[in-house]
Symmetry: C2
Subunit: 347 residues, 2 copies
C-alpha cells in the first residue's frame, strides 16, 4: 500500500470526544485478538455463545435473556425500531439517542421530555407519560452527555411502575465507572421478571470501542424481537469477541482504568475551576462543562487549532461542552489549552 | 479462564458447511489485525473511509456509491427492510435469503419465483414480475446453494430492463471465484447510473468470515437509505477493517486460494462420480450434490458421525446436499466418507 496504516487518530491529536478508554484494550484482550486472527476465516458463532454464557453466569440469568451485537448501538437500534412500530418511545431531551434516530428514520415517533433545571433527567415526567400511549421508555444512566446519575432507589421504583405499561430501556454504557456499579445497575429487575432491557458495552471502560461488542439483557421475548429485526449476533467479529471474552473478568485492568479516569476527572475539575468555569458532577468518563457566555462550537474550534478534539454543542445547549477522559497527558494538554481558548474567544 | 479458548471449530471436525476459505486470512491480513489490536480502544471511522476509497478507486466510483457493513448480510438486511416497506421483493425459490428473512420478520412481503428444471434462476419469470408492483428484485449470482452462474450478457440486459421499475439487488459474494470475475460482475451498471445494488464480502475467498466485513455498491440515494436504517458503518470492527484493507489487493493470496478451491472442486466432482452421484456445475466454493433417493438430512447426519459437517436439505429440495470447499485434507475425508455414508443409508 502506498500510505502507511494508521489505526488510531492522527499523530499529535488529543482525541477527547468519544468517551473511549485509551488505557485499553487490556493486555489479555490484545493477546486474544492476536491469537484469534489466525482463525479469522471461521464464523465466530461459538464465541457468541461463550460470551453470553459468561454474562449469564455473572448475573444469574439464562442465555435467553442476552443478545450480543456490534456495539450496544446495533441491538438498541433494532429494539427502538421494533418498539417504535408499535407506539412512540419516550425519552429525555438531552441524552444519547443514536438508536432513536434510526427509529425515527423509518417512521417511528419519539417523545422528548425536557431535562430539569440542572439538566437532570425528569424521571417523574417520564413516568407520567409512560402510563399513556407509549411503547417504551429510553433512559441512559448515567446520562450522556451530562454524566449525571439517577438515584438508584428512585429509578428502580420508577421502572417497576413504568414497566407495567411500557418496555423500559436502560442504557448502562458507563455503569462500571460509577461509584457503586452493582447498586446502580437495573439488571436485577430483568432477573426479577420486569419488562426492562438493559444495555452494556465493551466500548467504554473495557477499551474495546474499535472492536464493536455490546449486549442487551432483557426478557426472552424482547431478545427474540431484537434478533428477528436484524443480524446482531451475526455482526460481531471474532477479534472483538476474543477481546471481550478475554477481558470480561480482567479486574486488574478495570481497576487501573477506573483509577486513571478518576484521576483525569479530578484534573479537569481543578482545571476548569481555576479558569472560573463550572461543570456537572460526572459519574462517567466525561465531564459536561458550562462555558458561561461562550459558544461550545467556538470553544471546540479553538481547541482543535491546538490539536485537541472535543465535542461541540448539543442541540440548543449552546454553552455546554463535553470533554472525554483520555490519557492523563492529553487531559493536561486540554487543561493547559483552556485559558488560551478562553482568551481568544473573549478577545 | 477455566476453559481454554478455541477460535475455530472443535478439534478434528471437518467444517464444510459455511463456504468459508480456510486458506485465509492472508498473512497480510493477520499481520494487520495484530497491529491494529493495540489501537482497539479507538472507534475505527477513518478505516471505514479508507476501505471505501480503495473500493471506489478499483471500480472508478465515488465513495458515495459505497457503504461498508458487518458482513454484506447486515447492509443487505437494511436494504431489504427499506424496500419491503414500499412493495414486495421478488426473488428465486432456492437461493440465499437471510436478508429477506429479516424483511419478512418486520412485515415485508417476498415473492418467490420457482427455479427452472435444472435449478437455475428463472430470469425471464423474475423479469416479468419486476414490471408489476414490486419494489426490488434480489438475485444471488452465482447462486447459493446451487453454485450456478447466470449468463452475464443475459443478466446485464435483464437488469437494465428490470431496473426501470425496481431496484435490482445482486449479491456477488462468490464473484471472485468465478471464471471471469469482471465479466460476471454487474458493478459497471452502477457506474452507468442504473438502479442496481451489488453486494460483496470479505467472508468468502478473502477468508475473513470471522471478521465480518462486507459492502454494497449502489446509487447514492440507495446507500443513504441503507445508512438511515441502521448502524452499518458503525458496526464494523477495527480488526476486520484492518484485515480487509491489508488483503484487498493481495493478488498472490487470492490466486492461491482460488487454485485450492478449484483443486478441491475437481476432487469432489471425481469423488461423487466414482460413487455414482451427480452435481451441478459450480462457479463458487461449494458444490450442490444430487443424492438421488437419499435424504440430504440423513446424509448430513451420517457425515457428522464421521466428524464431517455439511449442510442438510434446503426447503423441499430433499435430495440435494451442499458441500463447501475446505482444506484439501478435509475434502479428502469427505470423499472417503461418501461410500461409507451411502452404504449406511442404503442398508
Amino acid at each position: 500500500m502506498a500510505q502507511p496504516m494508521v489505526y488510531g487518530p492522527r499523530e499529535g491529536l488529543a482525541q477527547l470526544h468519544w468517551n473511549e478508554n485509551y488505557y485499553g484494550p487490556s493486555e489479555l484482550a490484545i493477546k486474544a485478538i492476536k491469537e484469534s486472527s489466525h482463525k479469522g476465516a471461521y464464523y465466530p458463532d461459538l464465541l457468541v455463545n461463550r460470551l453470553k454464557a459468561m454474562i449469564a453466569e455473572r448475573h444469574d440469568l439464562d442465555t435467553q435473556n442476552i443478545t450480543i451485537s456490534a456495539g450496544s448501538t446495533q441491538a438498541l437500534s433494532y429494539l427502538a425500531q421494533v418498539k417504535s412500530r408499535e407506539n412512540p418511545i419516550a425519552t429525555t431531551q438531552l441524552t444519547w439517542d443514536s438508536h432513536l434516530g434510526y427509529a425515527q428514520n423509518i417512521g417511528g415517533t419519539v417523545i422528548r421530555i425536557d431535562n430539569g433545571d440542572n439538566l437532570e433527567i425528569n424521571l417523574k415526567a417520564i413516568e407520567s407519560i409512560s402510563a399513556k400511549n407509549v411503547s417504551s421508555v429510553s433512559i441512559v444512566n448515567p446520562n450522556n452527555p451530562t454524566g449525571l446519575l439517577l438515584d438508584s432507589n428512585e429509578l428502580r421504583a420508577s421502572i417497576i411502575n413504568m414497566s407495567k405499561n411500557a418496555l423500559v430501556i436502560i442504557d448502562e454504557a458507563y455503569n462500571e465507572i460509577t461509584n457503586k456499579p452493582d447498586d446502580n445497575s437495573m439488571i436485577d429487575l430483568v432477573r426479577d421478571g420486569y419488562n426492562v432491557a438493559v444495555s452494556r458495552t465493551f466500548s467504554k471502560i473495557y477499551g474495546l470501542a474499535g472492536e464493536r461488542i455490546g449486549y442487551i439483557i432483557a426478557q426472552p421475548d424482547v431478545i427474540d424481537a431484537i434478533k428477528n429485526n436484524g443480524s446482531g449476533e451475526f455482526s460481531v467479529s471474532m477479534g472483538g469477541l476474543a477481546g471481550a471474552i478475554a477481558s470480561y473478568n480482567d479486574e486488574a485492568f478495570l481497576k487501573f482504568s477506573k483509577s486513571m479516569i478518576l484521576e483525569a476527572k479530578e484534573m479537569v475539575y481543578e482545571g476548569i475551576a481555576s479558569n472560573g468555569l463550572t461543570a456537572l458532577p460526572s459519574e462517567t468518563n466525561f465531564i459536561f462543562v458550562n462555558l458561561g457566555d461562550i459558544d461550545a462550537n467556538d470553544f471546540r474550534d479553538e481547541m482543535l487549532k491546538m490539536n485537541i478534539l472535543i465535542r461541540g454543542k448539543y442541540g440548543d445547549f449552546n454553552q455546554w461542552s463535553r470533554i472525554s477522559m483520555g490519557k492523563l497527558e492529553d487531559i493536561q494538554r486540554y487543561i493547559d489549552a483552556i485559558p488560551i481558548a478562553l482568551e481568544q474567544l473573549r478577545a
